[in-house]
């Protein structure tokens, strides 16, 4: 590790990756993995991380990796190769191999449409009408969706020991949408709330098994999504159905936890922090200043870069500028707010890492990098 530490003394290095140059900052002393994990816990970093906490897969990246949808969803090698483009091509500090939202639902017998090269997988039929009928299959973690995902995480861990690997879990609320149907599920929050509580009870172990398996396979952290969005339900619905359950999840998960909930979530961020999530991956509808004020030191904040207007429709310059604004708010790391549209241009996505680097370069207290001194020699790298 001593050799790596000497890098502090050299001028900005050009790191060659697949024909692209990524400029390192003078004085970078963290690996992407350490940077991501430290930021996740609100700790010191040498540079604000730029990450993927969802999917940054595009048609461009499929071509580069020669790994295509929909095959890449069910093939560990293709999934790993495609996911790695987040680091190799975009210079991001994390890699997230599960691109879709079907991991648990498919293994629980939901009818999955695996999509096409330019369309995402989705559940096209709902199989559950009574929580008492639900049973986790004995080969749940051996089903094709898990074989691919867990295999990809293992490959990535081996290939990228210094890069953050992020797993993805759909919690019982979101799996409930897939299995029961979103309309029926939401109506029963009013018509039969006890039935919804029972669904959550029986589905929770499936999500926990998924989280544990991904951590065991080598994921550094797990992004847990339960879509109790403002566009769908009230903050009180989150409080009444999910808050206590999530308090248990954050304790029992056994690894760093990132919570994701789509949309304008300002009115429920306080509950998310109370649940004990280490980090909240949030969308651009939320003002990052306000989110930071609510979350305080209880929970770190990552994400916030708009997908449709900025990343998909915008230019590299638009994205760079948007990232700088979010970085100025002082959140713990930037990332697309959710899975980016497949037609997003890879050159635009490169603005994520570039802006985080440049922001960090111009925010050096006393001429040093972002926060705190590097660790003592011999303990670095």
């Amino acid at each position: 590790m001593g050799g790596a530490w000497k890098g502090l003394a050299i001028s900005p290095a050009k790191v060659k990756r697949r024909g692209e140059n990524f400029t390192r900052l003078t004085g970078e002393w963290m690996t992407p993995r350490r940077r991501f994990l430290s930021a996740l816990y609100g700790g010191r970093v040498d540079k604000v991380p730029a990450m993927t906490l969802s999917s940054v897969i595009t048609l461009d990246s499929m071509e580069i990796a020669d790994a295509w949808f929909p095959e890449a969803h069910l093939d560990a090698e293709k999934m790993a190769r495609l996911a790695a483009t987040a680091h190799e091509e975009l210079g991001l500090d994390t890699i997230m191999p599960v691109f879709h939202s079907q991991l648990e639902a498919d293994a629980l017998d939901a009818a999955t449409w695996w999509g096409t090269v330019d369309n995402w997988p989705a559940t096209d039929d709902h199989v559950l009408t009574d929580p008492e009928d639900f049973k986790i299959p004995s080969d749940y973690l051996k089903r094709p969706s898990f074989e691919a995902a867990l295999g990809a995480i293992r490959l990535l861990r081996k290939r990228y020991p210094d890069v953050g690997i992020v797993g993805k879990v759909y919690g019982p609320w979101s799996v409930g949408y897939h299995l029961v149907g979103i309309e029926n599920f939401l109506m029963d929050t009013i018509l039969d709330p006890d039935k919804i509580r029972r669904y959550l009870e029986v589905l929770l172990p499936a999500s926990m098994m998924s989280a544990h398996a991904q951590l065991e396979a080598g994921a550094d952290a797990v992004m847990w999504a339960d879509h109790a969005n403002r566009e769908l339900v009230s903050p009180e619905t989150y409080r009444d159905f999910l808050l206590e359950m999530h308090k248990g999840v954050t304790v029992e998960m056994g690894g760093p936890s990132i919570f994701h909930c789509c949309g304008e979530t300002t009115d429920r961020i306080d509950y998310f922090a109370e649940a004990g999530w280490d980090c909240f991956h949030f969308e651009s509808q939320v003002d990052p200043h306000v989110a930071k004020e609510i979350a305080g030191e209880r929970m770190s904040l990552m994400g916030n870069i708009n997908n449709p207007t900025t990343l998909f429709s915008g230019t590299y310059e638009d994205t760079y500028e948007a990232c700088m604004k979010v970085l100025e708010a002082g959140i713990n790391g930037i990332a697309p707010e959710g899975s980016v549209p497949l037609g997003t241009k890879i050159d635009v996505l490169r603005a994520l890492a570039d802006s985080a680097r440049d922001y960090s370069d111009t925010h050096r207290p006393d001429g040093r990098l972002v926060v705190h001194d590097p660790p003592p020699a011999g303990n670095g790298g």
């Binding site: 566009e231 619905t237 997908n307």
Partner: protein, 249 residues
């Protein structure tokens, strides 16, 4: 000018008092509910409460009692749904409550629609509605469809995962001029642009008007993809459809 106290139904009065903020909406609803019969106010109350059994029963009773189908739809069902829509827009209620009210409206419309269809009332226009390709979410679209039908439109529902070619084919088959596209996912929103492009390729773009909506969709995004209008919710969708129908009729 009608006063709140002119409304017989106490529940409706308190709904207006508690949840309506915009002066023009207060005025409109006070005028509406003070004009309609107590039986229609009761239907509206049951619908707002999401009581599908009561709406079903009261609609049948009203029809049996000689009340016109159009009157029940406008003064009971749509009037009640209008209050629900405002409460949703203002954040007093959320999708579950709207869905439960929509279920109640459906129970009433099941009696009304056959009568209206048989009476030969001309629709305002025909709207082709679908969730765009790759997207299987249809709650918002279905709410819009229900309100559009209630608002006097004929709606052809193409369902979910609708390809650009299916939109084009439906417009040609039904000689429609209005198209509503919905998307819930940021990953599928770009397919709205592909659909507009397909109409350009088919030489049909100038004869149709596109409406877009869905949780992540914004007015700006709508402009970017070449749509003619954006509706934030089902109520706005109906208003937009009425406006665009004038342009193409």
């Amino acid at each position: 000018m009608a006063q709140l106290s002119d409304i017989a139904n106490e529940f409706i009065r308190s709904e207006i008092e508690e949840f309506l903020e915009r002066p023009e909406e207060i005025e409109r609803n006070v005028a509406l509910f003070s004009r309609v019969s107590p039986a229609m106010q009761d239907i509206a109350e049951a619908l707002i409460e999401g009581d599908n059994v009561a709406v079903d029963r009261m609609t049948r009773e009203a029809l049996d009692g000689g009340v016109g189908a159009l009157e029940i739809m406008d003064d009971g069902l749509i009037a009640g749904m209008g209050i629900v829509g405002i409460k949703f827009r203002e954040g007093y209620v959320f999708v579950p409550e709207v869905l439960v009210s929509a279920r109640a409206m459906k129970a009433g419309m099941a009696h009304i629609e056959p009568i209206l269809a048989a009476s030969g009332v001309d629709p305002i226009g025909t709207v082709i509605m679908g969730t765009v390709q790759g997207d299987l979410h249809d709650i918002g679209k279905n709410l819009c469809i229900m309100m559009l039908r209630g608002g006097g439109f004929t709606v052809i529902d193409l369902g979910v995962n609708t390809s650009p070619a299916e939109f084009v084919a439906a417009v040609e088959e039904h000689h429609a001029h209005l198209i509503g596209m919905s998307a819930l996912l940021t990953t599928t929103m770009p397919n709205m642009a592909k659909t507009v492009e397909a109409f350009k390729d088919a030489g049909l773009r100038d004869s149709v008007r596109f409406m877009v909506g869905g949780a992540p969709v914004t007015p700006e995004f709508g402009k970017d993809v070449g749509a003619d209008g954006y509706g934030k919710d089902a109520l706005a969708c109906v208003e937009l459809a009425k406006k665009l129908a004038v342009e193409v009729n």
